[in-house]
Subunit: 129 residues, 2 copies
DNA sequence: ATTATAATTCGCCAACTGGCAAATGTCAAT
DNA sequence: ATTGACATTTGCCAGTTGGCGAATTATAAT
């Protein structure tokens, strides 16, 4: 079995599903993929075909590209000419995070990152003593 | 059998191969895919998995994205020149917020929206009494 | 504790992918 | 026409995918 990049795909998908508070059955309904199959994918017993991967991308809040790259079906992007995001190396906004935030007005979004700043400075201070 | 978009994929691939004046065997060598399989793909008897499609893209001079879209594995990209992707309907994430968050690892980003969720439920509860 | 109910996992299996080797087709040179 | 050298197609089959229904496990609710 291929232990390379496909390896953690299941975990990632499960994480994302749980973060989105969907059950396997709900995701199954939204994606049009059997729940049993989804379960096996999540625990790494099956590797989803492109067809299946495509179906679950949007219900989970992934860009198709993103998920395909994650699955190792596309190589980590040269991406489009205009650049934009460095692919999956952290430095980007997680899709789940983005969906949650996008439901909030900008003022709330800013308040949230304000909290982040406060927490970081607290952490920094307490790390020093 | 699916007669939709996958239908002409084989033709397109064969055309492209001929245009590039490659034989099946040469393409086979470059792509690391058996010639017999390639032949069947070209005449529409088999539908290549993502793994296979990825391997033949570059020897044929395709962008992976392009070929995947052609195969119907990715939805046709509206794509973008200057614009970022419009994936999340409704409101979007404020650019300032996005840049701040994108400097943090995903785990931190998620923790942050976790806090948001908590605050909202607190607000909801206290609004009820 | 005891049901009731929803969620997940398992067993089974039809359908499909993709490689190998053999068969067939193509074409130039003799 | 025949041979030889490649190119393509076919037969076969092991390995996977993915759906369905049953069995099991988690979660409430009384």
């Amino acid at each position: 079995m291929d232990t390379s990049s496909r390896n953690n795909l299941g975990e990632v998908i499960r994480q994302q599903r749980v973060m989105t508070s969907l059950t396997l059955q709900e995701l199954s309904a939204k994606a049009g993929v059997s729940a049993s199959h989804l379960g096996r994918i999540e625990r790494g017993e099956r590797f989803p075909s492109a067809r299946i991967l495509r179906r679950i991308a949007q219900p989970l809040g992934f860009e198709e590209n993103e998920l395909f790259t994650l699955a190792g079906y596309l190589s980590a992007h040269p991406l489009s000419v205009g650049e934009e995001s460095p692919p999956y190396r952290g430095r980007r906004v997680d899709p789940y995070v983005a969906t949650v935030l996008s439901r909030e007005p900008v003022s709330v979004q800013r308040a949230v990152v304000g909290i982040l700043t406060i927490l970081k400075s607290i952490a920094e201070i307490s790390a020093k003593e």
